[in-house]
């Protein structure tokens, strides 16, 4: 239950509300590391859930300790993450779970991420998944596609609160990355889990929404 606020007016009157509201509307995830923002959302959760429901949105709070706004109606624009964001997000979620990352306090480098991705998916498959519209004819083009798309995805994931950029090369992993592991959370069938998530509007499949569009402006010249 709410602790600090007695009405929605109190919640909206809080000085941090406009920034948090804008961040949530932009698709940002807010977790415990956000300090005051997380505390505000925790305290005002009941009122905000009612408020956003009127806009056709769900204020989702996960047991991993993060909030995000999920549009469920037509009143609110919704964005589907790109293939690059999905691949990088899942690889970073793996890094987040890896005990090796504990030694560096949750910091990973872009190079470590690339190594992990390339170890799991072959270079060519990865490049094709990241940019399916482009023909990857040479090794140079493949490597450039991977590097460019991964860098772009990292930038966008940072904007959505999945990671913090520490500097050009290093990033700090955050709890919202576990959202990428949602389909495999339970021990049941993954397909059923995906169907459930699609039904709740948290995930979109290709069949439902066509080929993924990558609106990156960082095409690689052959």
């Amino acid at each position: 239950m709410t602790t600090r606020y007695t009405s929605l007016a109190d919640v909206i009157g809080d000085p941090v509300f406009p920034d948090i509201d804008l961040a949530l509307r932009r698709g940002c995830h807010i977790d415990r590391e956000d300090g005051d923002w997380y505390q505000f959302l925790t305290d005002a959760q009941d009122y905000l859930e009612q408020l956003y429901r009127r806009y056709g949105c769900e204020l989702v709070v996960q047991s991993d300790g993060y909030f995000f706004l999920l549009p469920t109606g037509k009143q609110f624009s919704v964005r589907r993450l790109s293939a690059g964001e999905m691949l990088v997000g899942q690889a970073l979620a793996l890094q987040y779970l890896d005990p090796s990352t504990v030694q560096s306090g949750g910091l990973v480098t872009q190079e470590q991420l690339l190594v992990r991705l390339v170890n799991l998916i072959s270079d060519e498959d990865l490049a094709n998944a990241l940019n399916p519209k482009k023909k990857h004819t040479s090794e140079r083009v493949i490597q450039e596609t991977i590097r460019t798309k991964v860098a772009s995805a990292i930038h966008r994931l940072a904007g959505m609160g999945f990671i913090d950029r520490v500097d050009q090369d290093r990033m700090r992993l955050r709890a919202p990355l576990l959202r990428f592991a949602d389909p495999v959370r339970g021990l049941g069938d993954r397909t059923q889990a995906l169907e459930r998530l699609i039904a709740t509007g948290q995930i979109a499949s290709v069949a439902a929404s066509g080929e993924p569009e990558d609106d990156d402006e960082d095409e690689v010249e052959a």
């Binding site: 509307r25 300790g65 997000g89 504990v102």
Partner: protein, 497 residues
């Protein structure tokens, strides 16, 4: 002694030629370095402390070295090509010598002992290596070239050598053995010693009557005694940094190997380090203010006595204390972040996924994603919906414009009679016999200033055409009428009215 001779025989027999050359080269290089070192020492002797023991001389030059331009120092190292190459067996060899000296209270080692120690180290680092005695000879040579071992008997090739570890070797070995960890007790002891020494120095500063007394009783102890104590604290701080890194590695390794079973051990490691850092920071905060106060009072006395050197020495120590305190705060803040992160990891990841099933399933999901893609959805609505109060719609008033008379009342203006004068001027020029337009124009525009001339020229041409009958040639020739203007000329003939 027999073994000693035998060892020496092998050494001489195998290495006599090159050894001599190498020794000469090394001694030349070392000679140059030591020459500079000695110059520094002698300068220090002249400028700072005066006649003193070797130990003090050494420390004084170190103090001076700190004052030198770091760029010059680095350039010196680069120019001399200073480098170190140590293999595992070399490190084991040096460490074994250090430990042997410590155990047996040795100040030097005879050659037999050095070879014996090397053979033990070699057996550990490279078991089954061929010809360890020959390798020992090479290792001794290598260590001497890198100034890790010093031959102290000064007998050259006449007999077997007597060796000692250099300061460089000792420092390297101690950093690897790493027994200098900062604890609450060691820090409190060291800061207590600093406070006690500074109190004495303050009394000495108040009693000092001349420059020599200041240097001997205040400046020297500030640089050496206090400097050494603080360097000891800093060394232990570095030891604690290394210890922290070890803890991070241990936690990571424990989680990798035991996962959920390692929770208690990980938490204990975290809590122990946190408690140590907290205690150290408390001691640092408490004692550093007292140390700074004492240093300030020494600086004040030095300033009153005009002893710039003592003031600078006290200031330098103050800066070291600031650095030491900043270390405590910085490490505690960094550790605090790490502590929170690991606790969150243990709670959110390890406890919730005791079998590491989530990692395995996520790995599979990622591998299969290109063939079975799906996409997470996020909100993408940056616009703010402004909720306005509902108001009753009222009729809009018609758009109107104020009526206004466009007629303006007449106003009085000054008459423009310049042209009347112009006609008189043209008529006069014609009457005076001007036979072309250029002559008339020249005559008329002479009465006007530069800005008006251009406008007047046209009127002159019109008046000429009105008052007489000009003839225009084809093409009309150009004629200058002043320094800047030219006109197309007409010839004037016939009657002029």
């Amino acid at each position: 002694m027999g073994a000693n001779r035998a060892g020496w025989g092998i050494d001489r027999g195998l290495k006599a030629g090159p050894d001599r050359q190498d020794t000469q080269r090394v001694s030349q290089v070392a000679g140059r370095s030591w020459h500079r070192w000695l110059i520094g020492c002698s300068q220090a002797l002249r400028t700072n402390i005066g006649p003193c023991s070797w130990g003090r001389e050494d420390r004084t030059s170190t103090a001076l070295t700190h004052d030198r331009n770091p760029h010059v120092m680095l350039a010196g190292l680069a120019r001399d090509g200073a480098s170190l190459r140590l293999e595992t067996v070399d490190l084991c060899f040096l460490a074994a010598l250090h430990l042997r000296a410590d155990t047996d209270n040795l100040t030097s080692f005879d050659e037999d002992l050095v070879v014996e120690v090397f053979e033990v180290a070699c057996e550990l680092a490279e078991p089954g290596a061929d010809n360890p005695r020959k390798r020992a000879t090479h290792a001794i040579q290598r260590m001497r070239e890198q100034r890790m071992l010093a031959r102290i008997d000064a007998s050259g090739f006449v007999r077997a050598g007597e060796y000692a570890l250099t300061r460089l070797a000792t420092a390297i070995v101690e950093s690897f053995l790493g027994d200098e960890h900062l604890t609450r007790e060691s820090l409190a002891l060291l800061t207590g010693a600093v406070i006690s020494n500074l109190s004495e120095l303050r009394s000495e500063a108040e009693r000092a009557r001349n420059d020599d007394e200041w240097r001997a009783k205040v400046v020297g102890p500030l640089r050496i005694t206090i400097g050494d104590l603080i360097a000891g604290i800093e060394r232990r701080q570095q030891g604690l940094d290394a210890q922290q890194q070890e803890v991070l590695l241990q936690i990571s390794d424990l989680l990798k190997s035991d996962w959920v079973s390692s929770l208690a051990q990980c938490e204990a490691l975290l809590d122990n380090t946190s408690a140590t850092l907290k205690e150290l920071n408390e001691v640092l905060m408490r004692d550093s203010s007292q140390i700074q106060m004492l240093l300030q009072s020494i600086q004040d006395v030095a300033a009153t006595a005009g002893m710039l050197e003592a003031e600078e020495a006290a200031q330098r120590v103050g800066e070291q204390i600031d650095r030491m305190t900043a270390w405590g705060s910085s490490r505690q803040a960094t550790w605090s972040d790490y502590y929170r992160y690991v606790h969150r990891y243990l709670r959110d990841v390890v406890r919730l996924d005791p079998d590491r099933a989530l990692s395995r399933r996520l790995l599979e999901q990622l591998r299969e994603w290109p063939s079975q893609p799906f996409f997470s959805l996020v909100a993408d609505e940056a616009r703010i919906e402004l909720l306005r109060d509902v108001v009753v719609r009222s009729d809009r008033p018609a758009v109107r414009r104020p009526h206004e008379s466009r007629d303006r009342d007449p106003t009085q203006v000054e008459p423009q009679d310049g042209l009347i004068d112009l006609e008189d001027l043209v008529a006069r020029a014609l009457a005076e016999g001007a036979d072309d337009l250029a002559a008339v124009t020249r005559s008329v525009i002479a009465e006007f200033d530069g800005a008006q001339r251009y406008a007047v020229i046209g009127h002159v041409a019109a008046l000429v055409a009105k008052l007489c009958s000009p003839i225009s040639a084809r093409p009309r020739p150009w004629a200058a009428v002043d320094e800047q203007l030219e006109i197309e000329n007409w010839t004037i003939e016939g009657p002029r009215s």
